[in-house]
């Protein structure tokens, strides 16, 4: 029961922010990430302190970063999009085809095209999920098959290779501004914008509300279908953007581009502390999760772990993260119950 006298300890906003940061789930993975980078750098200073090492540390996660942000937005609404790998593949192929047709195409047009292709796919997913009210897990699993199959059918054994891409686009893959790769900058802008939206816009908060309790959201009068649809469109668009990234970085596009990356994106989101059944988690967490996932793969050989055990380490990381989440939530629940007794 509530107490009557409003006695709240006064604390400054700064203290509160600090407390929030210190208690946040994201801090745990940041610590793991920093520790891994530090260890790897201690063993091999070139891991970070060399032009290539610095660039790759920042550049390598950029594709997964973008995908994880999109996936996070869908997951927070208690949905999931397994078709993003296929979407990425289609986007990459479209980008390649555009350059094959006209090598002088502006980079901006290519970005727009990739994002648009992804958004269309996302809209199809979103429509199927919201209009027919079917579980997104199955729908997007089916769409993953359909899209990949359609792509393979169209592409066949064709492969768009480095030679087919104009130099200015290939260069984009490694271009740096103040030593920070352009792709990473774009990815970080995406993280910032989406994170800001989810944190401070009404629409963003509604996504959390929908994921927290979809029935209550409908009862409350939130435009749940529209928001979920929007989340899928955003996720698709970001998968499309990741397709452009992929062609820029790898300078190749074929029927298998982006295969199996969807599970990595889901893993990044889970590692980042986003609840798989929606309602909680942050874009920052998902982004750090993606960073960690990619970085750990790069760092393991340096840390002396054979590449054959890398998959197992990633699996442990995922399991460890969700167990950690569970332990934290149980502890919090206990605290709340005890607080009730003392109230």
């Amino acid at each position: 029961m509530t107490t009557l006298a409003p006695t709240r300890p006064t604390e400054s906003a700064g203290v509160r922010v600090l407390r929030t940061v210190l208690r946040s789930r994201e801090l745990a993975i940041v610590i793991v990430l920093v520790a891994i980078v530090l260890f790897a750098t201690a063993r091999r200073s070139s891991f970070v302190f060399s032009a290539d090492g610095w660039r790759d540390t920042l550049l390598a996660p950029s594709i997964l970063l973008v995908l994880a942000v999109g996936q996070m937005v869908v997951v927070v609404t208690r949905n999931v999009d397994l078709s993003i790998g296929s979407t990425l593949g289609i986007s990459a192929y479209v980008v390649g085809k555009i350059f094959v047709a006209n090598p002088d195409t502006s980079v901006f047009v290519v970005f727009a095209a990739g994002i648009a292709v992804g958004a269309v796919v996302g809209a199809i997913n979103g429509l199927l999920v919201t209009v027919f009210n079917v579980p997104s897990l199955v729908i997007t699993l089916g769409m993953m098959y359909v899209l990949r199959g359609a792509l393979t059918h169209e592409v066949g054994s064709e492969r768009i290779n480095a030679q087919d891409f104009p130099a200015h686009f290939e260069k984009l893959g490694t271009q740096q501004v103040l030593t920070i790769p352009v792709l990473t900058i774009i990815a970080l802008v995406v993280v910032a914008v989406v994170g800001y939206y989810l944190h401070t816009a009404r629409g963003g908060r509604e996504l959390y509300a929908i994921g927290s309790d979809p029935d209550a959201a409908v009862l409350y009068g939130l435009p749940a279908a529209r928001r979920v649809f929007g989340a899928f469109v955003l996720c698709g668009a970001l998968a499309g953007l990741a397709g452009v990234f992929s062609t820029a970085r790898y300078a190749t596009a074929f029927s298998g581009t982006g295969k199996d990356i969807e599970l990595q994106a889901v893993a990044a989101v889970v590692i980042g502390g986003v609840a798989i059944f929606g309602g909680s988690g942050t874009v920052w967490g998902a982004a750090i999760g993606a960073f960690l996932l990619v970085t750990i793969n790069r760092a393991l050989p340096i840390l002396g772990i054979s590449e054959f055990w890398q998959g197992a380490v990633v699996g442990l990381l995922i399991i460890g993260s969700i167990v950690l989440d569970r332990v934290l939530s149980i502890r919090r629940q206990h605290r709340l119950l005890e607080a009730r007794d003392h109230a």
Binding site: V146, T152, A267, F308, G311, I319
Partner: protein, 368 residues
């Protein structure tokens, strides 16, 4: 039918019919039957129109390739009926194949011993999933995405760059030898046995009833004394063990084991189960539907390949079937909603007194 005098009411005894529909409707008008019919139609169509489909190798190849998928689909059916999912089966299969291979080829164990150990390992891996899901309370989707990576990683770590090949001839040949004069390989025998075992387990035991109850409402099952956690643990353990058995088979059939043995099978298994009429929300499904669902994918695959179609066409069709079947089954309630008058009439006729209002039907769960 006996009347019971226990209890209190002294009112005249009523009698009840066991079923609201007759046998024919009950058996024929089901989602499972729709799949069975689709399977028969596709099979007959292929027989008549696809060159070589009637050849002696078709059924043989089909059984040989889809035996592991069907095996893994059996426990997966029960798991999905409880409302959970196991994405790690193919990785468990990979670990089992690797264990079998390493034990037989590197450590000279006999195949049966290695197989038993591999199945034990599989059961342990499955139990680990089950423990996380049932006792730690983690969502199975997240757990098994994690173990999908973890177990595949274990298989990679076990095999590394070693060449695991060359099982003893007798064991290596047995699974794919034909049964007598038939078109079927030996592996069909254990698969049929497993199908029967799982069908009985799901449909004719108290355990199976519990599985359905958990899927329909795990809370109600818990309140009726069903040990929800233990049931889930058992199912995931079974899933691991059966996947491991499939792994032994795949290793022997291929006579070699690679790090990616069985990779991607989990999606085929899940597609087959869902196509077979099992609801992804849990609580609904039947094993014959799942068998038909897996076979439908197998026959379509075989027919399309014989017709010269690439694997991508098969992928597209499986994907469309999956999406289509889920949309169809989820939205039939809407179709039903379009016929409310008829529904009222039917129900009114079926009860002896007019129905009474149901308030609080839509009471909702309290925030936890």
């Amino acid at each position: 039918m006996s009347t019971q005098t226990d209890g209190s009411a002294g009112a005249p005894a009523r009698t009840y019919s066991s079923y609201s529909r007759n046998v024919a409707l009950r058996v024929l008008m089901t989602r499972e039957m729709a799949i069975v019919v689709a399977l028969v139609v596709v099979y007959l169509y292929a027989l008549g129109n696809i060159q070589f489909f009637d050849g002696p190798l078709t059924l043989f190849n089909l059984s040989k390739e889809y035996a592991p998928i069907l095996m893994m689909a059996l426990p997966m059916t029960l798991i999905i009926i409880t409302g959970e999912i196991d994405l790690s089966v193919a990785s468990t299969l990979g670990v089992s194949a690797a264990v079998t291979g390493v034990l037989v080829i590197e450590h000279d164990l006999s195949v049966p011993t290695a197989a038993v150990l591999a199945v034990v390992v599989g059961a342990v891996l499955g139990a680990l999933n089950g423990f996380f899901v049932a006792y730690v309370g983690l969502p199975s989707l997240a757990v098994t995405i994690g173990t999908l990576a973890l177990y595949r990683g274990l298989a990679e770590g076990l095999i590394q760059d070693k060449r695991i090949a060359g099982f003893p001839d007798t064991w290596q040949d047995w699974p794919t030898e034909r049964i007598g004069e038939t078109q079927y390989p030996n592996i069909v025998i254990p698969v049929v046995v497993l199908v029967v075992v799982f069908a009985v387990l799901l449909h004719f035991t108290t355990f199976g009833r519990g599985v359905f109850e958990i899927g329909l409402s795990d809370e109600a099952a818990h309140f009726s004394g069903v040990n929800v956690a233990r049931t889930k643990l058992v199912l995931f353990t079974l899933s691991g063990a059966v996947a491991a058995l499939a792994g032994v088979y795949v290793a022997l059939k291929a006579n070699s084991v690679a790090t990616d043995t069985g990779a991607g099978f989990e999606l085929k298994v899940i597609a087959g189960v869902l196509l077979g009429g099992v609801s992804i929300f849990g609580g609904r499904g039947a094993l014959h539907g799942v068998v038909a669902g897996v076979l439908l994918i197998a026959v379509l695959n075989s027919a399309l390949q014989l017709d010269g179609q690439g694997s991508e066409v098969i992928q597209i069709i499986i994907g469309l079937l999956l999406v289509g079947s889920v949309i169809a089954s989820s939205n039939l309630s809407r179709v039903r909603a379009l016929l409310p008058r008829r529904a009222v009439k039917t129900a009114a006729r079926s009860t002896t007194t007019p129905p009474t209002p149901t308030p609080g039907d839509d009471t909702r769960k309290v925030v936890q």
